[in-house]
C-alpha cells in the first residue's frame, strides 16, 4: 500500500502546519495549557508511530510497547538521580538500553504467533513493570521526581517550554521520515510481505524472523526516545509509564488513526488525547463515552480517522 495519494499528503501537511503553529496559538490565546497538552500529544505520537512500524506495517501486535517508554524514561530518571544530567550521555544510553531490551524481548516473542505473541509481549512488559515498582531506591511504586532536565548546552534548553515542544516536534518529524524511508525500502517490503503472508515469504526465500526482529528493535528504540522525552516533559518517572493499559492506549492510537499509514499514529494520538481531555471536562465518567466511540471507529472506519479524512479505506 503506497501512501502517496494527494489526499493523504494534504492531510499530512495540514497536521504538520497545525502542530508547527500551535505554540503561537497557545501564546496568543494565553492558554499555556495547550502547549503542555500538545507536547504530550507529540511525544505519544512518536511512541504510536514506532508501534505503527511493527503493528501497522509488520503485523506484530505487541501488547507491551509502553515498556520502552518506561525504559527510556527510567534511564534518564536514574541517571539524573545520580547527578548525570548530560543529554549526550542520557539519550544515547536510553536508546541503547531500549534497543537491547527490544532485542531480547523480540528474539523470544517473535518465535510465537498470534495470541501467544500478544501474551508474551504483555508478560515481558508486566515483568519489567514490577521490577520498576520494586526499585525502592528510585521510589518504587511512587516514582521519582527529576530535578534537572537533560542538558545539551546552548542553544538547546529543555527548560523552555516552547523550545522543548519544538524539539519534540522535530524528533517526531525525523521519526516519521525514517519510518517512511524504512517502509518503502527493501527492508520495508520484506516487513510488509511478512505481515501479508509470512508463509509465502519463507517459500520465496526470506528468513522473515530476522526482518521482523530488526523491525521490532527499531520500533523499541524509537519508543525509548519517546520515553526519554516524556520523562523530561513530566519531570517525573514512575512504573505507571509502562503499565499495560499504556500499551493498550498506544494500540488504540494506532488503530484510531489508521494502521499502516504514515500519519495515522499522529492523527490517532491527537484524537485520542484531545478526546480524553475534552470528555473528562464534561464528565468524570468520560470513559463511558470514550469506549463506545472507539468501538464505532474500529467497526465502521477500517482505515481509522486518517482513512476517513483522505477518503481511503483499507480492506
Amino acid at each position: 500500500m503506497k501512501d502517496t495519494s494527494l489526499g493523504q499528503m494534504l492531510v499530512a501537511a495540514a497536521i504538520l502546519l497545525v502542530l508547527a503553529l500551535l505554540p503561537i496559538y497557545a501564546a496568543v490565546a494565553a492558554q499555556p495549557f495547550y502547549l503542555t497538552l500538545f507536547t504530550r500529544i507529540v511525544i505519544l505520537a512518536i511512541a504510536a508511530a514506532s508501534l505503527n512500524l511493527i503493528l501497522g506495517y509488520g503485523g506484530m501486535v505487541s501488547f507491551g510497547h509502553a515498556v520502552y517508554i518506561g525504559i527510556g524514561g527510567y534511564t534518564v530518571g536514574i541517571l539524573a538521580h545520580y547527578g548525570i544530567n548530560d543529554g549526550y550521555i542520557q539519550w544515547p544510553l536510553a536508546l541503547a538500553i531500549s534497543a537491547l531490551a527490544a532485542l531480547v524481548i523480540g528474539a523470544l516473542s517473535l518465535r510465537t504467533r498470534g495470541v501467544y505473541f500478544i501474551m508474551i509481549t504483555l508478560a515481558f512488559s508486566q515483568m519489567i513493570f514490577y521490577v520498576a515498582a520494586g526499585l525502592d531506591e528510585f521510589g518504587g511504586d511512587d516514582g521519582l521526581t527529576i530535578y534537572s532536565r537533560s542538558q545539551f548546552g546552548p542553544p538547546v534548553d529543555l527548560n523552555n517550554k516552547t523550545a522543548f515542544y519544538y524539539i519534540c516536534l522535530v524528533v517526531l518529524v525525523l521519526c516519521l521520515g525514517i519510518t517512511w524511508r524504512l517502509v518503502n525500502s527493501r527492508f520495508g517490503m520484506a516487513l510488509q510481505g511478512s505481515r501479508s503472508n509470512d508463509r509465502r515469504m519463507r517459500a520465496i526465500g526470506f528468513a522473515t524472523y530476522r526482518y521482523r526482529l530488526v523491525g521490532f528493535v527499531i520500533a523499541g528504540t524509537m519508543c525509548g526516545l519517546a520515553g526519554a522525552l516524556l520523562a523530561n516533559h513530566t519531570d517525573f518517572i514512575s512504573p505507571a509509564m509502562m503499565h499495560w493499559t499504556r500499551s493498550g492506549d498506544l494500540i488504540f492510537m494506532v488503530i484510531l488513526g489508521g494502521m499502516g499509514s504514515l500519519f495515522g499514529p499522529v492523527v490517532g494520538a491527537i484524537a485520542y488525547l484531545m478526546l480524553e481531555e475534552l470528555l473528562s471536562r464534561v464528565t468524570e465518567y468520560w470513559q463511558i463515552i470514550f469506549g463506545p466511540l472507539l468501538i464505532l471507529v474500529v467497526l465502521f472506519a477500517k482505515g481509522g480517522i486518517g482513512g476517513l479524512l483522505t477518503g481511503q479505506r483499507r480492506g
Partner: protein, 256 residues
C-alpha cells in the same frame, strides 16, 4: 542420461496410524515436466510438503542438485532454486501484481537489510519482475492490486513469482484447480514454454493438461509409487488402469 535434478529415496511419513508416504522414490531430470497423479488421498500434497520443507519425513532422503536437503528449512531450499506455487492461492493481497513479483526477485538478490532506497524505484528489482509477469501474460496488469485479479490471474501471478526466483525446478501444486477450460489451456501453453529451461514437478487433477504437458508421469496410490513412465507407458500400464484410471476408459482419461 543426465544426473537427476531431484532425487527422492525411500521417503516415509506417518500421521498416527496412517502412512501418507510409503517408501517413496522418485527422480526428476533437468528440464523435464514430471507429473504426479493419483486419486484423492494418495499423498500428493504430503509429498510436495516434504519436498518444500514444510513437513519433515520420518525417514528417507531428498537430494537436490546432488545435495541432501532433507533437513533444510523452507527458505534455504528456495535459495537453492527449488520454487513452488501453492495449491491455495497464496499472494500478497495488499501489494500490486508487480510488487508481488518484485518481492520474489528481492528474495534472491541477497539480504534485504537495505533501509534507505525506495525499493519500488530499483530497476534491478522491477525489470526482472516485469519480465516474469509478461512471461505469464500479466504484463498489462502490473500496476493493479493483486486482490483485484481473477482466480486464473492469481495462479499466473503465483507462477510469475516462482519464475522470478530464477528456479532450477518448479513445484506446482494443482495450478489448474478451479480454472475454466480457457484459462487452463492458456496455463498449459505457459508451462510448455518452460520446458528445457528448468524442470517442473506438477501435481494436477486435470488429466488433459497432465497428458498434454508431461514428459514423464508418476502414479501415486496410498503413498506408494505404482508406476513411472512416459504418458504412453502410464496409459498402457495395467495396474494404473485398475487402481486409478478405471478399466472402462480408453485413450486419454478425463478428470480423475
Amino acid at each position: 542420461m543426465a544426473e537427476p535434478l531431484l532425487q527422492v529415496e525411500g521417503l516415509v511419513k506417518r500421521f498416527g496410524g496412517i502412512v501418507a508416504t510409503d517408501q517413496l522414490s522418485l527422480e526428476v531430470r533437468p528440464g523435464e515436466v514430471h507429473a504426479i497423479i493419483g486419486p484423492n488421498g494418495a499423498g500428493k500434497t504430503t509429498l510436495i510438503a516434504q519436498l518444500t520443507g514444510e513437513i519433515r519425513p520420518d525417514s528417507g532422503h531428498v537430494r537436490f542438485l546432488g545435495r541432501d536437503i532433507t533437513r533444510l528449512p523452507m527458505h534455504r531450499r528456495s535459495r537453492l532454486g527449488l520454487a513452488r506455487s501453492f495449491q491455495i492461492t497464496s499472494i500478497f493481497a495488499d501489494f500490486t501484481a508487480l510488487d508481488n513479483v518484485a518481492l520474489a526477485v528481492q528474495a534472491q538478490a541477497g539480504h534485504s537489510f537495505r533501509f534507505w532506497r525506495d525499493a519500488r524505484r530499483e530497476s534491478e528489482l522491477r525489470q526482472p519482475a516485469l519480465a516474469a509477469l509478461t512471461q505469464v501474460g500479466l504484463g498489462a496488469r502490473a500496476g493493479d492490486p493483486a486482490s483485484s485479479l481473477s482466480h486464473g490471474e492469481h495462479r499466473q501471478l503465483e507462477i510469475a513469482m516462482a519464475l522470478a526466483t530464477r528456479p532450477k525446478m518448479l513445484l506446482l501444486d494443482e495450478p489448474m484447480a478451479g480454472m475454466g477450460p480457457e484459462e487452463s489451456s492458456r496455463l498449459v501453453e505457459i508451462l510448455r514454454g518452460f520446458k528445457g529451461s528448468f524442470a517442473t514437478l506438477l501435481v494436477e487433477h486435470d488429466m488433459e493438461a497432465v497428458f498434454a504437458l508431461a514428459d514423464r508421469i508418476t502414479v501415486l496410490v496410498y503413498g506408494r509409487v505404482i508406476a513411472t513412465g512416459t504418458p504412453d507407458q502410464v496409459r498402457e500400464n495395467a495396474e494404473v488402469r485398475q487402481a486409478y484410471l478405471g478399466e472402462e476408459q480408453r485413450g486419454a482419461p478425463s478428470h480423475g
